[in-house]
Subunit: 167 residues, 2 copies
């Protein structure tokens, strides 16, 4: 297979994967492009490579930097900005966990706490709601703690431990 063809397949696949996880196709593709690039890329190179507008590139690179998946790189004597992606998959996944946990798990825990004040003795429905909320709260706190641990653990520890478990 030609590398050009492989590259296109990869960009395509990564974009699709992003989409089904609530990350927009273009953001995922920009990230993919940077992951497989041997050097930092300028906005123009990304525009050219993915055939998208400057505004689109700018917004998505900004979002990727917010997620901590892409860094800015400056070159002496060049006014343009260049960008590199984090290439260590473990770090990539860790960043994603940290971000999504904060943006999604924490808000839902907050809502559950608010709701858990309901009186479950009123009727059957209130009781079912109270029980469900409590179950989810319990599960979510465990998930929260587990993810915290995963994030603190380093890559080798993680892999090693799981490999042992799987046998």
């Amino acid at each position: 297979m030609e590398w050009q063809e492989g590259k296109e397949k990869f960009l395509q696949a990564w974009g699709t994967l992003g989409t089904s996880w609530g990350i927009n196709r273009t953001m995922a593709q920009i990230h993919a492009l940077m992951m497989i690039s041997p050097h930092a890329l300028s906005a123009d190179e990304v525009m050219e490579e993915l055939q998208i507008s400057r505004g689109n590139v700018n917004m998505n690179i900004r979002a990727l930097m917010d997620w901590g998946l892409v860094y800015k790189e400056l070159r002496a004597g060049d006014r343009r900005e260049y960008f590199v992606a984090e290439k260590d998959m473990w770090k990539v996944v860790r960043q994603i966990i940290v971000n999504r946990k904060k943006k999604e798990l924490e808000p839902i825990l907050k809502v559950l706490d608010e709701i858990s004040g309901i009186d479950g003795t009123v009727n059957e429905e209130a009781e079912a709601l109270a029980k469900a909320v409590n179950d989810i709260k319990l599960f979510s706190s465990k998930a929260d703690a587990t993810l915290d641990m995963l994030v603190k653990a380093d890559s080798n520890w993680f892999v090693g431990t799981f490999m042992k478990m799987i046998k």
Copy 2:
């Protein structure tokens, strides 16, 4: 807090959570509604409760059944169909892992395998691509194995093991 208010907050929050994970708001809300309901619900009850059309309810319940998160329940002497959600959070999450793994992790592994046939000695770009693809393949297989293990493990084992790890 009134249970009616709590219920609305919960449906709202669960819908939003779904959205950011690539699951449509209505599907997530139907699931939420069934999770907090003390009895099985008919299509009409869901329509009424969420104020959505019959077609929409039908399509999303079907999808939830495909995911293995909702079951059909028949009542003697009643031609209508009723639906119940799986309420054990561990089972819910397990089903989601199984489904998403198959629908998303496996296809990307397939693409990576195809691509890994490229010749990395051609140029710097091909080399970077080959390396990235290999790294991701390695990581993905580990993730795949880890998820398999998680799915096979029962809830108590999981919780117990992680609790010990966290100390």
